[in-house]
Symmetry: C2
Subunit: 437 residues, 2 copies
């Protein structure tokens, strides 16, 4: 009997942690003028120790994920890590059904993100028991163990378990070298600015991040007002040409397909590398059409942070709708769903640039990007991982950027944990940060 | 100033109404063994009267929609019916943003269904003020008024407002004749049986519905166990050939694409007209692949009850993924989103067969099907509207089937209302039906 077979889950607890920001401050964009980045924070306790997992939301709605964690919890009690982690095709089905609240948004929404937060905690527990950071524990697995972690049901017409196995096996010989390269060099990243930031402040932020952290790729939120977008981009390009900094823009879903094309034509003179979320996050055909129109301008189309599950991600990746895909570590049903998306993307030659910036996301995604680099795509070509860092101090192992690259995590686990101070101050609704009101 | 411009919304209230069924009873299927059909029940009060609107869920999760109604309500207070109903492209955006809980499932889930329940109430109010059942009030509008009710943002690359206008204008001359035909003949419908029903009971139910209501199309839930599915279908076909009854089957999303094809090949000898929800409800490519494989067997592929919004519906309809589309009156953002889907379907020659069976859905969908027949598709060719009726007694205007057709609604409004008895007995968690526990 291996150690996973011996480890039984005995309890699951959840806390509603909400950080508190001013409107139009950090986190603001064209459709979200006021965000309070939040985490449903799950503790999975086993007879051999505990793991911590988070979901992510923008404030209100966090209670829906917490409530769904409570609804799902009984399905895990008494299960072994082996059943939950290494037979996920079966277990994910158990965790998805029969849940009455699944109807609210099948394959998405609160019950699905709750499943993700729980699974993130189970992976954290497993990595802690292995004594390794999650990316390393995953990289040390055999290809067939990774395949057993994945539920292929809804994507097997695009990627079979056998194809996944082949991909992973092909990479085996280079793994050791890539691990040591990663430990030395870290992971390429970019920095995101917010829509509420004024032009002067934006420029000084870019100067500062560039000189202090060595980051040379920046993302701007656009889509509220064309003249304002143009003025901000013009000011940046006046100071930094495209050899000095790379620019991405993000419209957060505000346009129709035709508007997206018109708006981006007007911004193209500023040498934009990608437009993110130009339209509805579930419009594969809309993105494909925009991509077809913008390719002659050399502007890429990317999306993914609002893509809830592997079957939708697969359609964006395999049907020519995106140039790169942006996975979110808390929207899908945990680590295993993300691994599947990485494998599909590798098959189709689509780089994965994880979404982060939100509380805890900066800390989670380096594990995914690192595993992908060691075991799956084995390349950082056109991979840039989002990294903002303004919530990192809430976490036991804050993400760290040096020389424009993210340092790979060293502590055993995945999110590892929130600091005691963050947990007590920002507990909703009774923590002191919320009681003031 | 017209009457809509004079009518202002003054308050919005919501009640959590949950009916209570035994496990494996009415409502059960391959992924939902225990449903308690429920309605978030919204009252929109204006200075000229009130309207009632419902959402629909399977029990737990109903509170999420109710909570989102409360979050959205302030956005409607003080608005006129004109702003809310006849400038929906703008208003829907207001109602969708900036809502923090939108992040949980953008374009889907609790906030979106809450918007739907609210809009259903606004339409109920408007039809009551017009003194007509909703289908009739909609049918009496000019084509340009319908177009102003619709938000085209995310589907304008598939259907422009101008194309919608053309479709509606083409139909103008036949409207009067189709209304009187509808009043005489009603709407074609089919009956759904549940997965928990035993074989003998199933047969006697089919016999009874056929002789009492004149319905000759029946849907069976399948996908749990192939031998059981075959035995049940065999028993039915032994008694009724395909001239006597038409058979549909519904797998409620349990299969991969390849499994769906294998399973349906095994059932094809029983002359099945359609397979419903063979795989994930957001897998356009999966459905297209299954449809391509099953077309040689003469089996159609349908889906839609779990399709949350027009932009996803449009992809199923326009990209060759379905033979018919099954709209749900409570999942999208109310009546206007449904009208848009009908218009897209009409353009592509795809019949729309609304999903019903759930509490209140049987009562809502005849309005949509009737409007479509009068103003949009103007044909019942391959249109069959689901109708089960076991919850109809909870509503002020229960749906009614005669001679195998649904009688068109006569009372002013849309859902019109729940009975006082239903509202007081099934209010969650304090109504007597729930207090017993």
């Amino acid at each position: 009997m291996n150690s996973q077979e011996r480890t039984k889950i005995v309890s699951i607890d959840v806390e509603d942690i909400r950080f508190r920001f001013p409107a139009l401050g950090d986190g603001s964009d064209a459709i979200n003028p006021h965000t309070d980045y939040s985490n449903p924070c799950v503790t999975v306790t086993s007879d051999r120790g505990a793991g911590v997992g988070i979901g992510f939301s923008l404030g209100r709605g966090n209670e829906q994920i917490c409530s769904a964690v409570t609804e799902l919890a009984p399905l895990l009690i008494g299960k072994t890590l082996e059943e939950v982690l290494f037979d996920f095709g079966r277990f994910k089905w158990t965790l998805s059904n029969p849940i009455q609240s699944r109807w609210i948004a099948p394959g998405a929404g609160s019950y699905y993100m709750a499943g993700g937060a729980i699974m993130n905690a189970v992976f954290d527990l497993w990595a802690k028991l292995e004594g390794k950071p999650l990316w390393r524990a995953l990289s040390d697995l055999e290809p067939d163990q990774i395949v057993r972690m994945i539920d292929f049901r809804y994507v097997s017409h695009v990627l079979t378990p056998f194809e996944a196995l082949e991909t992973l096996r092909r990479g085996e010989s280079r793994k050791r070298a890539l691990v040591s390269e990663l430990l030395d060099d870290g992971i390429p990243c970019y920095f995101t600015t917010w829509i509420g930031t004024g032009k002067d402040e934006l420029l000084s932020q870019i100067r500062e991040v560039r000189s202090d952290l060595g980051i040379t790729s920046f993302k701007l939120k656009v889509g509220s007002e064309l003249a304002r977008d143009r003025a901000r981009l013009q000011a940046i390009r006046k100071e930094f040409d495209s050899d000095e900094i790379t620019l991405f823009v993000d419209a957060n879903q505000v346009w129709s397909a035709a508007e997206a094309v018109r708006w981006m034509r007007s911004l193209s003179e500023f040498e934009i590398t990608w437009i993110e979320e130009p339209t509805a996050p579930d419009s594969v055909d809309g993105h494909r059409l925009i991509r077809d129109q913008l390719s002659e301008l050399g502007i890429e189309v990317v999306t993914g942070e609002n893509c809830p599950n592997p079957q939708l991600a697969t359609q964006f990746i395999a049907d020519g709708a995106v140039d790169r895909f942006q996975i979110d570590a808390c929207r899908m049903m945990g680590v295993a769903d993300c691994l599947l998306v990485y494998l599909v993307a590798a098959k189709h030659g689509i780089p994965v640039c994880p979404h982060a910036g939100g509380s805890g996301l900066d800390e989670l995604v380096p594990h995914l990007a690192a595993w992908n680099h060691v075991s799956c795509a084995q390349s950082f070509d056109r991979v840039e991982v989002e990294q903002v860092g303004f919530c990192s101090h809430f976490f036991v192992q804050p993400s760290e950027v040096r020389g424009g690259r993210i340092t790979v995590p060293r502590l055993p686990g995945y999110i590892v944990g929130l600091t005691d101070d963050a947990k007590s101050r920002y507990r909703f609704p009774d923590g002191p940060a919320w009681r003031k009101e």
